[in-house]
Symmetry: D2
Subunit: 254 residues, 4 copies
């Protein structure tokens, strides 16, 4: 039994430091690297790729709306054409940095507001899928499970994986409970680790209403931007290691 | 006898239009495409690459210091490491856009203040040469003739071509007369066309002091941002066409 | 009988030129000056204020979402607190430039997507009204007539004027016909001039369905970014001049 | 006997946190607030001004070259006209935020590379002095002691104070030992506190060569961006408090 843990990385910017990249890197298998639109800059991207290379972590681009002040978390009324071009640009920027360090790009995962909008808007998801496909058909699109992103990836003929969230509650339909609702985020790290175990071993998760629902988790998203988050990742890793579950980037299994 | 004419292109930005891209494109053989740091944005880069594809023009990246307000014309005290990373980033961004349109990148030519600083500072020229070499050793570096850029390209083992300027005066040493001096820029389009002819056919140019000096011109830079400039390019083209000189991107001859 | 004509100005950016500021300035009475978030830069703002000073034009700030690439025309999910702070910042930047040229600020008019969102969202309109009021209670807020902006200005106790558009069609309810609908923009400059005359003299306008509807037009917005637009402004001016209508900034009448 | 301690503040940006503003604020008398060009954003500027208001700290603008990635620490070849306009813009942005919180601006201190270049280049220092003077003649310009900034302020007729650095070594001529030289920065916090005491009580400082040199210190710059720096400020404060030296913003004494 195999699983991939993905985590956002390289979100520092200029003189500003963000996240626990050095601490988290050894415990995840894939990373999503900011490309300068919501966070990071070329020097910091290079630093992040060198760190990933050292730890043999699979690398993905983490494109965003152009919004440094808002960290890419604010919805923007960009057109699909604009999103397609912005996504190509950001993938390329990271690709070249990988190239200069002789490592490969594995995937693309949209960031923040762009991810959330793509999950429900097929035109936005389609723009991203086409962008990925047009740059390199070998790249995976990381999609929110059961979302419009999956639909768009299929349509564009792009490789994709479905993603589940370690610390988020799910509805009976297997979709994410919106962050605005109570209980949307699970803070108990033991419970989170158990839920990840259930996702991986049984492809099931207990919904917020207590119902067992099927879930596809080809990669599981964990967060690395708080000390607590680092503890959570280590615990997940420890628990699943004990059960002989293999941690491996999804790009290797396929 | 063959020659390449290169011209800066794709310098529009968002809603702002700059340059006579459509008018100039049919008359040049290589273009230097702005990558978003001094001009352009992903959507406009894509538009420019489509235009270049239509006209079968060879494409180069035109990286710059990050300075939109100053159009990359202001010197910046960036470190060689910062310049190296910024250059890689910009090459990659344009590479991906070329990839999405199934065309190739031929070269990299630094823009504005970065070009001028690289011409005299071997550390800056070296950072650019290493950046190019690390992304794709097949890419040419466009260097000011006889400058530190040539030296840096050789040292890094990067492919390069030496560039001459159609409308600039030269010293007895074969270097450019600084723009601050009278007579530095030649405005008479007939004279410019004749000088280009001399560069191509005889590898010679008359210096500002009236001395014949040898010149290496593997590519000749022309400007396309004024109506007068467009006329100049057409005249150069007409004159050299008459003499059966072949216009061809330098990447094809080598 | 008096009227104010307002027009967006100072939308150039760095090396990029936009609009016919010099041509339009003599024919309008109030201008809305871009503040660096969707267009312009400090040097260009200073140039614009000097031009306005020369022509004795009343000056307003034209704050926007932070979106240079999209020219402030893309909706952004910024919070009211973010919009309030961004608006204060932009008003202040222009205020200081006016101060350095010893002229006064008359008003604030939100730009593009911010204007459109404020017209229908009382929380956004309220953030703008509070921002204006907190910087200088003498400043007018330019509001789309009958919109949530008027409501917000009243609530905040801010001075305001209601604005009508010279070249836009109106519904029977006196609201703007959305740009997406056919006939939303009126291109016949004679018809536009007549409609402005009707707004000013009779406070009435013929709706897109042919019904006469009352309209409040304390200032009328004209565009100055195309040669045709310049002609339109001159024609409006000529027609109303003949009828002895006085052109005067709204800040002077009150 | 009175002294002012000034410290850079409000250097966070969007989601990025920098500095120990809350810890340092109670121990200094004047702050230099980033204005969005090298750090900060409107929301964070507002937050900083509210904090300063709570602690009754005197407020200054901290304008910079436009360089977020380089934190304003990279020299830029901007013209005096560009620097003048950029400075006016940034002062105004902070002025409006102060206005909205009903507090006053006391001073302007250029940041980073702009400060260093102004210290030795009278044209740059002059552009800043004129900018300050043109916005509000009541504002002080904070100048490196004995530098071209002092000269420029006098010439422009601007109010100014001369600044000394708590933790920097001085030459026999009373100028700063360049950071590139060994011993340029003093790390021993007891020694730093003693030197500040000497500056304030005796207007003298021991140079790096052991010579006593006269020094003008109308305000003393301390740093607040490391935990060690916070300790240093507290120690300076404690030592001078014991000696009944009064801490007061320079704007109040004059």
């Amino acid at each position: 039994m195999k699983i991939d843990l993905n985590c956002d990385m390289g979100e520092s910017f200029g003189t500003y430091k963000l996240g626990y990249d050095e601490e988290v890197m050894p415990f995840v298998t894939s990373i999503n690297v900011a490309c300068g639109f919501h966070a990071s800059d070329p020097g910091n991207m290079l630093h992040t790729i060198r760190l990933a290379k050292k730890h043999h972590i699979a690398i993905g681009a983490h494109p965003s709306f152009p919004d440094l002040v808002g960290f890419g978390r604010r919805n923007m009324g960009a057109s699909p054409d604009e999103i397609r071009a912005d996504t190509i640009y950001q993938i390329g920027a990271l690709w070249a940095i990988c190239q200069s360090e002789e490592v490969k790009l594995q995937h693309v995962k949209p960031h923040g507001a762009l991810y959330n909008m793509a999950a429900t808007d097929i035109r936005i998801a389609g723009a991203i899928a086409e962008a990925i496909q047009s740059v390199d058909p070998g790249l995976f699109m990381v999609c929110l499970g059961k979302s419009q992103m999956v639909e768009a990836a299929r349509k564009a003929g792009a490789k994709y994986v479905e993603e589940a969230f370690a610390d988020r509650a799910y509805t009976n339909e297997g979709t994410l409970v919106p962050r605005s609702k109570p209980g949307a985020v699970i803070h108990d790290i033991n419970l989170v680790a158990e839920r990840v175990m259930s996702m991986v071993k049984h492809q099931k998760i207990t919904s917020i209403d207590g119902v067992e629902v099927p879930i596809v988790a080809q990669t599981i998203c964990v967060h690395g931007d708080t000390p607590g988050a680092v503890e959570m990742i280590k615990l997940i890793r420890k628990l699943l290691d004990k059960d002989s579950i293999v941690f491996e980037p999804f790009g290797q299994s396929s």
